[in-house]
Amino acid sequence: MSNAETTSAPLDPAVPFKAVFLAIVAIFVLVPLLATLLGGFKSLGELRVNPFGLPQHWEWRNYADILFSGRYWQLLRNSLIISTLTVTLTLIVASMAAFTFAHIRFFGSSMLLSYLTLGLLFPAATAVLPLFIKVRDLGLLDTYFGVALPQVAFSLAMSVLLLRRFFKDIPHELLEAALVDGCSYIKFFRYVTLPLSRPILATVGTITFVNSWNAYLLPLVMLNTDALYPWPLGIMVYQGEYSSEWHLILAFITLTILPTIILFLLAQKHIVAGLTAGAVKG
């Protein structure tokens, strides 16, 4: 890790400047978030005159009403179903493909791998209209799978690359020994590769989860029924209904980003590793 002690000179004149600069950036980041959290505890009237400070009267009702409504939980449930489907399928499909690319040499292997990595080149949005028609023709419109399957397909490129790099680092002698002992590739995959690859599976799973949990465009195009909406769609509908009752909207925003922030605090390591992955070439 960083051996910083060597560079910290005593009483550097840059230190106060640095502290002020960091404080300004911290305020820039924090103020909108705190104002959102606190705004949810205010009445609309108070919000207008006092958007920054602590509420004079803590209006717990704003939050309570949302928490005791079926609506909030339904949105979270839908998001959770779609994200779980996406993560599970991505991990299974991508790890199987990555295993093949890592351990089996066959004609066209590198060609197929570069074929998959084409997915890194362009965003899902470019082909979203034909994708909509495809999903409709498959009869998956307005279903969880209609959102999850395209999400899996678009997360495959990155996932296969990350997993393959990790699988390749598992000592080859291990595989050879297992094969000599009569273990099949599939058993090796199931009982050696996967258990050894927990960190990378967690990383890939986390990226996929965060992306799917936050996704807006694909569900927007594929779903028509309110009852199936994940939270990003639901919150937009909510905002449309309560257009300028900001105290309610702010409470709703706070409650919907809460799961993300909790997950972030619990799995910081994997999230940072995952979302900056591909950057640090190993």
């Binding site: 051996n3 910083a4 560079t7 960091l22 950036v25 911290a26 980041v29 103020v31 909108p32 919000l47 207008r48 958007p51 991508a94 199987m96 493909a97 093949t100 074929y115 998959l116 084409l118 997915g119 890194l120 362009f122 965003p123 899902a124 949005a125 470019t126 082909a127 979203v128 209209l129 034909p130 028609i133 495809k134 395209p150 397909a153 495959l156 050879e176 094969l179 099949s184 590739y185 599939i186 995959f189 936050n214 807006y216 465009l217 990003p232 937009m236 300028s244 900001w246 909207i249 925003i253 919907t256 980003i257 993300t260 922030i261 972030f264 940072v272 979302l275 900056t276 950057a279 640090v280």
Partner: protein, 307 residues
């Protein structure tokens, strides 16, 4: 490679040619590869090809496309003023990413890569906006900018000025979006730089210092050059990110007013998807695809050859 002492004795003669474990490997090939290839082909590759096909039709998405109009859709797109505005806005996003976000991220990374009390907490704080959903971020800032209740309005009022409606004016809407983009993404780029700084060979910096280089000289002539690969990568992400920006724009402005804050994707959404103009929308998609692919290839060839 497979060891010469195989277990192929009892297998078909061909197995000897293909080496030991061929059946075993063949099974994996047959079982493990198709799901990924199938999903990827069906939902990623085919739709791109179909976009090119549909873009030749005037089609509302119902039935089969029959009304072939050649390249007219492309002509219509290129004749739309909003398309050029969207392209300009994507350019603006890239400029701001390079001129504001990247230096900010790099400065913060240099400050926070070393361990001191609170460094890790600050890193996490600065990274946090990146993991928030763009929809939530957009809504938070549409509150911040709100002319009646928002934070900006309140600051204006304390100075006795009439609060502006930043998102409702063609002059300021895009500027407001750009500020949100910096807020949301600088932490990601900062993390890239921190990761690079931590894997940097510290002895090079120390050697430069021992040779009499000042701190800023060591930074300019040793550290920054060592970061070039990461800087190039960060620029790459900034451009690709700008080309797919959509979720953030929707809650803020929906691309308006008067198309002044559209990005390529929100332009595609507003003009193609929401009106089910499949041919026209596909043409926009193909143009966006071409921009992405051309950019990715030229950038990789020119700037990232060594990686």
């Amino acid at each position: 490679m497979p060891s010469p002492v195989g277990v192929a004795g009892e297998a078909a003669p061909q197995a000897a040619v293909r080496g030991p474990n061929w059946d075993n490997r063949f099974t994996v090939l047959i079982l493990f590869l198709p799901p990924a290839l199938l999903l990827f082909t069906l939902f990623v590759v085919l739709p791109i090809g179909e976009a090119a096909w549909y873009s030749g039709f005037n089609w509302n998405g119902f039935g089969r496309p029959t009304h072939w109009i050649g390249f007219d859709n492309y002509r219509f797109v290129l004749e739309t003023r909003a398309f050029w505005l969207a392209l300009r806005n994507n350019g603006l996003i890239i400029v701001v990413s390079l001129a504001v976000q990247l230096p900010l991220a790099l400065t913060l990374a240099l400050m926070l890569a070393d361990k001191f009390r609170g460094a890790v907490a600050l890193r996490m704080l600065f990274f946090m906006p990146y993991i928030l959903a763009e929809i939530a971020t957009g809504l938070i800032f549409s509150f911040v900018y709100d002319g009646d209740y928002g934070l900006v309005a309140s600051i204006w009022r304390t100075f006795g000025a009439e609060p502006p409606h930043l998102l409702a004016s063609t002059d300021t809407a895009m500027l407001a979006v750009l500020i949100v983009i910096v807020w949301k993404y600088f932490g990601f780029h900062m993390m890239l730089f921190i990761a690079a700084l931590q894997s940097l060979d510290k002895s090079l910096v120390e050697a430069a210092r021992i040779d009499g280089a000042t701190r800023s000289q060591a930074l300019r002539h040793v550290v920054i050059p060592l970061l070039y690969p990461t800087i190039r990568l960060s620029v790459f992400f900034a451009v690709v990110g700008s080309l797919q920006l959509f979720d953030l724009v929707m809650p803020l402005t929906r691309g308006g007013p008067a198309d002044s804050s559209n990005t390529m994707v929100s332009f595609l959404y507003n003009n193609g998807i929401s009106r089910m103009r499949v041919g026209y929308g596909s043409a926009i998609g193909v143009i966006l695809f071409a921009i992405c692919v051309i950019f990715a290839f030229t950038y990789k060839r020119w700037f990232m050859r060594d990686e």
